[in-house]
Symmetry: C2
Subunit: 342 residues, 2 copies
DNA sequence: GCCGATTATGTAATCGATTACACTATTTGG
DNA sequence: CCAAATAGTGTAATCGATTACATAATCGGC
């Protein structure tokens, strides 16, 4: 039996450094209140004892949960990985634990989110899911959590929570402009699901830019999708059946582009020879897909970091909400799936 | 200003039901010790006050962390989503919070994992990463956490922790047998990265079954990959350059199969016409890929659940470790990417 | 009808931190 | 040189649960 060294408490540190626990606590959380010499002695004692603060005790006393919850629509979508990494990084320095919940596999019950706040299990939340019911959000507000919820990428229309997202409309415009610059005129767009805020923003960008550039618009060139591989494949079927095929397609997500490309290829078309394809997101696979996908890059890592920072700010400021919407820049990444029309 | 109802404590419940806090506590954690009538009164009071136990207080008193950590090699890989869902589900009933860490984006420092245990931030861990250094694991053992670590899918060779995984060798055998049954004789295998336990298990299954069936083996038909799309693509290049091409390829992961297929198609081959392809994992995309991928399905949800159950068992049993290795069955899913050779 | 076992409940210590308040020593201002 | 302000530290209450121990009541056996 090896003996397990039991962790040092603040009492131990106080004893070793010959001060009260109050002073030790102050050294940790408010060093300026303590004289330089005492502070040195305490820090030495901390090093000597290997003391680490017990979060459960601190949380209890401070009436915090010491945790934040991240709501992800579907962990399986590669798009979210970089974002989660960014979020983790953003919270790394803090003493908050990061909980992750998949809202698709574990559909959020109406009162679940508010329940987490009520039970003091979380101090704040970041939602990547724009599909949270308003009623659920209102319940959180009731529990005073209204200023500790941040939306990331997606958001709920009509609710006043801070939102960090990419400049979706600009991304769409960039994609259209790129295709236009290559010489394309007949440009189709595969959208996301109806009712999704990203779908709306990107579609608007498409329509706006297409109008601005004086490009022809046919209603069948706006194809409804749902961000999935399948929907891209379905879009390919539709396009193959069109009398007047577009020469380029901008997809609202990379996954859609993959489905589209394999569908078109299966239908005998060459990419980008016959049809150019542009995606959105720049997920990891996109660079190594065959053909490598031209796409709009979202800085997923940065998005995550920013959301973490905003939430940390809210948690620190005992002050009130700071509702705001910040859009991070996006970038066109030109690869092999787009080329001039022949 | 709406007033925020402050949460009821165990004291409130005690007052309302006219018993001591001790009794209330017992009703919650050890109902049999309390008489039926008192129990009823307490439960009524709990309902009336809307009492929820404060985890921070409970954890402090019980010297637990109330959390478990899941170590995931790369959250971005679609393979992990179902597993995480299963794990969450497994812990749903318990009062453990589930923390998730991505070991690739946030490489685990040597002492980090042990540090989590030492600081009482976690009670247990599930690792999907077989690349944890033995030294780090030994440190955990030092802190008495040796029987609260469970490996899932991957594991560390030579360490005595419980392992839950799929029957990898059997999966490989199934794949080879399937191709053999279709009439293939020249079967290649794209492996995972060297040094990975899954790579080894699957390769052994391939070699074993190929031998058993008396199939020819050429060393160039074992192609080293790394579970990535790129490595599949690279494998395609190699195969295209071979004098004696295999008529079927079994890939150690679906992602590899996707890369392989697109590479082969780009090289002018038809799948499965010229070459049949079988993957491993059955990730979400596989069914909707074009062509739909024949693959070995791992029950990811079940894997996650089992790991959660095993860890919960260890956490409940104050007893000692129960090192064991359990292999869940796998299943062949026949789709469009495999067919008889022509 | 008495004694020990069993059942049901209460009292109070405890987990390990934070912080209001009190106190002393030192500095500042007039 | 004294009152008031400031700086530095300690005492002890507190956060909200669990649980060892004490106590009271009930039961069964002989």
């Amino acid at each position: 039996m090896s003996k397990i060294p039991k962790p040092a408490t603040i009492q131990d540190v106080a004893r070793v450094s010959q001060v009260s626990t109050a002073t030790v606590s102050r050294v940790l959380s408010n060093p300026d209140l303590v004289s330089k010499s005492t502070r040195g002695a305490v820090l030495d004692a901390i090093r000597e004892t290997g003391y680490r603060v017990n979060q459960a005790a601190r949380n209890l006393r401070m009436k915090r949960a010491g945790a934040v919850l991240i709501l992800v629509p579907n962990l399986g979508k590669p798009f979210y990985s970089g974002i989660l990494a960014g979020i983790s990084e953003g919270f790394a320095g803090s003493d908050y634990a990061v909980l992750i919940a998949d809202t698709e596999s574990n559909p959020l019950q109406e009162e679940t989110l508010a329940g987490y706040f009520r039970d003091g299990r979380i101090d704040g939340a970041i939602s990547l899911d724009g599909g949270i019911p308003s009623t659920a959000l209102q319940q959180c507000v009731t529990y005073g959590a209204g200023d500790r919820i941040v939306f990331l990428c997606e958001w709920v229309e009509g609710e006043a929570f801070p939102v960090i997202s990419s400049d979706n409309a600009e991304g769409a415009r960039l994609a259209i402009r790129h295709l236009h610059d290559l010489g394309h005129k007949k440009i189709a767009h595969v959208t996301g699901p109806d009712g999704n805020v990203l779908t709306a923003a990107r579609r608007e960008g498409v329509v706006e830019e297409r109008t601005r550039l004086g490009l022809p618009a046919r209603s069948e060139w706006i194809i409804r999708g749902d961000f999935s591989l399948e929907s891209g494949h379905e879009a390919a079927r539709r396009i193959l059946a069109m009398d007047e095929r577009p020469t380029a397609v901008f997809c609202a997500a990379d996954m859609v582009a993959f489905g589209l490309i394999s569908g078109l290829v299966a239908g005998g078309l060459k990419i980008p020879g016959d049809i150019s394809v542009v995606g959105f997101d720049d997920i990891e696979m996109s660079g190594s897909y065959v053909p490598a996908l031209t796409t709009i890059r979202q800085d997923r890592h940065q998005l995550g970091r920013r959301a973490a920072e905003v939430l940390l700010g809210q948690l620190a400021n005992t002050g009130k909400a700071l509702p705001m919407k910040s859009a991070l820049p996006v970038e066109l990444v030109t690869r092999a799936s787009s080329a001039p029309p022949n």
